[in-house]
Symmetry: C2
Subunit: 533 residues, 2 copies
């Protein structure tokens, strides 16, 4: 609604959450409209009258901590709005809070509230897949069996990641094993890795253990998680849907609960997309911030090694291990959360709405202002930068793997092979033009990030059905690339928050921060996610 005071309402909602956390009953009283008609309903009954509500609050002695996941804002009039907030509790249970807000002389106040909760969902990823009789590693769409007799490398067994089981994407060197890259012919010709990739070694040194080697899309050049050779890993968070890729096996394993952490790569979205489809926290680091040694390249200008996790705290702890030593200063908070109407509208409408609810929750939970960017990008710009990215990616991918494709023309499925071969035809002039476009995109994004962190959908859709046609998969990939390649080509860190829901399907909210601000970005998780119980 034009002229609606979204900022004021969200600020009031943020004050409410803050007061609730601190059990500041006076502040909570002030945020409820005084009067006999004000009401608060919980579970099965209502209290009517602000004095009864206030008395209840004093009796209660604090509410259990909760974290906002989605805030659905419905504007009724310039001075009236409803918020329906979905929350997560420490025990994995969830809650709902509906509030009717009115703006009067004392600002935005709640005139009616309805609170309810539910225990931990039966369908929680991990819980659902826990069939003690089944050996999860028999699922060869998710896990690749080691080919070498050497045992999987052991970690130090102690440290901040003690007990964390890692699903290592089959693009990352595991000592004593060969790297398969999602392609049987590649595995066949690969040499045994003499050492773990440094990123994996860092996790092991911090106490993590290798759960297994996780499947990947062919040479990581896909986003859907469909692999012609070993099949499509099941998506425990969205049954009947693809897991997304190319870190498909890592994501599927973490979603199913057979691993706690996914170590993967992200060139054009290969962590953020499966994170979005499988309902996982995902982190793509600043380009160059995490050592990619020992990792199969796809397009080195954009390649990164990053992480996936069900639990925010696991992601944050593991990322801290991979990042360069902290500079000692406190995490920087952004001045605002920024939304681009253009980028949001590139997602399908229900996804855009879902991500908007997640973004609103992030703003209310952190108290950060939520602003629309003023000089928004145009769809023409987005089309241009996506095309530019694809040009450079294809050229670099051909440079990396053209030799293998030439030597083994049938090793890849036709669709993926065609993506590589497109890179063979990129001329120097086209490449220079693409690089110039990318440079402009980088300047454009830096302009936004000077004012706040840019928030956008991680993917244009939730996970497509496994039985989608190739055309449908390609459409989903093309739509998502318009969103996902922005971080890729500008090198900024990206954090995927798995909070959106389209029906019951997860979809991610992606937050972009300035290059090098990974620790600040990850510090956001402390504000918005429960610590392990």
């Amino acid at each position: 609604m034009n002229g609606f005071d979204t900022a004021g309402l969200l600020a009031a909602a943020a004050r409410y959450e803050d007061a609730l956390r601190r059990d500041d009953v006076s502040a909570l009283d002030d945020l409820f409209a005084p009067g006999a008609q004000t009401l608060r309903a919980e579970g099965g009954s209502a209290l009517v009258g602000s004095t009864h509500v206030a008395a209840f609050r004093r009796r209660r002695g604090g509410a259990p901590p909760r974290w906002l996941r989605r805030v659905h804002l419905r504007v009724v009039s310039p001075d009236d709005a409803l918020t329906v907030s979905e929350t997560e509790r420490l025990d994995g249970g969830s809650g709902l809070q509906t509030q009717l807000w009115h703006r009067g002389p004392d600002g935005w106040q709640v005139t009616a509230a309805h609170v309810s909760g539910a225990g931990p969902a039966q369908g929680t990823p991990g819980a659902a897949a826990a069939d003690p009789a089944a050996d999860p590693f028999e699922d060869t769409a998710t896990w690749r069996r080691p080919t070498e007799p050497a045992p999987l490398p052991a970690g130090s067994g102690d440290g901040p990641l003690r007990g964390v089981r890692v699903a290592v994407k089959d693009l990352v060197a595991v000592a004593g094993q060969r790297t398969g890259g999602g392609v049987p012919r590649w595995l066949q010709q690969a040499r045994v890795n003499p050492a773990n990739a440094p990123a994996l070694q860092a996790l092991l040194d911090a106490g993590a253990a290798v759960a297994g080697i996780a499947q990947t899309d062919e040479l990581a050049f896909s986003l859907m998680g469909v692999n012609a050779h070993h099949g499509t890993p099941p998506n425990a968070a969205a049954p009947g849907r693809v897991p997304g890729g190319s870190s498909s096996g890592s994501a599927a394993a973490v979603a199913a609960g057979t691993a706690d952490l996914g170590l993967g790569t992200d060139t054009a979205g290969s962590l953020r997309v499966p994170g979005s489809f499988c309902g996982l926290y995902a982190w793509r680091p600043t380009h160059g911030a995490v050592d990619t040694t020992g990792v199969l390249p796809l397009a080195p200008s954009f390649d990164t090694v990053g992480l996936l996790a069900r639990r925010a705290a696991v992601l944050a702890a593991a990322a801290s291990v991979l990042l360069p030593a902290p500079d000692g200063g406190p995490a920087r908070r952004p001045g605002a959360l920024l939304r681009s109407r253009t980028l949001t509208a590139l997602a399908e409408p229900a996804t855009a709405l879902a991500v908007d609810a997640a973004l609103t929750a992030l703003a209310v939970q952190t108290g950060l202002p939520l602003l629309d960017v003023e000089d928004d990008v145009t769809t023409e710009e987005v089309r241009a930068w996506t095309e530019a990215f694809r040009t450079v990616q294809a050229a670099q991918a051909w440079a990396a793997h053209g030799g293998f494709l030439t030597a083994h023309p049938d090793a890849l499925s036709p669709a993926v092979a065609a993506r590589f071969r497109a890179g063979a035809d990129v001329g120097a002039q086209d490449l220079a033009a693409a690089r110039a476009t990318i440079e402009r995109t980088r300047e454009r994004l830096d302009g936004f990030l000077a004012r706040g962190w840019l928030c956008l959908p991680s993917t244009a859709t939730p996970a497509p059905p496994v039985d989608s046609t190739p055309q449908e998969f390609e459409a989903a990939r093309a739509g998502t690339l318009q969103l996902s390649t922005l971080a890729s080509q500008t090198g900024v860190p990206a954090l995927g928050l798995p909070w959106g829901r389209v029906g019951e399907l997860p979809v991610g909210l992606c937050v972009l921060a300035p290059r090098g601000a990974d620790r600040s970005l990850l510090a956001l998780l402390d504000e918005v996610a429960p610590r392990e119980p």
Copy 2:
């Protein structure tokens, strides 16, 4: 809000409840606004988009039955309103439903809904008092020990009231026992009753059993349930509050669960008031419809014998036994539920609001239109009719018991004795004037009842604290008499529904029907209350 379409909104809400009962998913779909923003949240999570909500409804296959108890309507704009509905389930559990309504081209539709439920409350009357070690009959403020060696009369043991335990007000003849009337000196001089009062006998013949003889206010001439001789029965539904009177012991016993049915009398409100204070269904019959033989009189022009119960079905079954044989025709439904703004405003504001929520629930649950009476009474009229009633009541009470008071000047507490003595001074002219006022009141009410059933607060306040001052008790009594004596002086039947809540204190909604329409009035209970599980 002026011009708000309350009737249209309540009609839509009634259609919604009806469709929900029938699991008519198409009708439910039609009552939800189409579109991507429409949402439905339950327990801990939300579904966004009318198609997702519709799909959920088809998967669900019907909702458990529920009955509305309070509907809080909050008008936001001429085209927008919130309803928060409190419901009761078959298992005694409760539920909440918040709905944001918008009036668009297709009429009133829900744009956002939040549903939650809770199990049977721990504090349910009856459950709370169930200490198996304690003998409830040792509570002599509630129960009067039999003075005679004869056993309490047994019932037939079978029939529609099988298993129903009756708390018999100590104003009603119990065979083999004396009637105490709440006054030790009266009990002392009373003769042993040769037979049960016919009303009691009818209940016993239908299978009910006598739980015990329940205390009463002194000679029934009070409304608070405070008795200087045996104390104040505890109110299990409102701890620390009086139970109301004069059927105080019957109400306290039923609220505590040591009886299922209270057999009592109502002259000026002596069933409806304790029903309101103790959260019980209460029925005052059409004057003359139930035999008062064997019952101590107070003011015969107004005296009735009626009932109290926790469960609506028990009240309805017992009332059916007491009433003359049905004429065989179907129960008549009123054309509307009527509200008098003047009468509602005679209750204290929080009580008026609470009763309004109950009345709105009754309208939505039954689908009956809720109309404000057009030619409303004035506060002057009410003052006049209350005074007229008190004049006639006092004169008749003195006529009934003046002899006893003269013979035993110290038998009653001073406050109650003063009420009787006021009747000694009523002159013939005052009495004639009062009777004329009452006649006008009767015509006035009959005018209303020709258009619908009149709904008003059962009491002006919830139960006052037990430690109220005499002045506070007198103020509560005077306020309530303005409401309760309307049925008394016009002889119409009254049904008290225990649905209002001021904070956690119960307060009753009273429905008045035309004289003789008791069975139709009680048939309302079938529409609004769960059958016994």
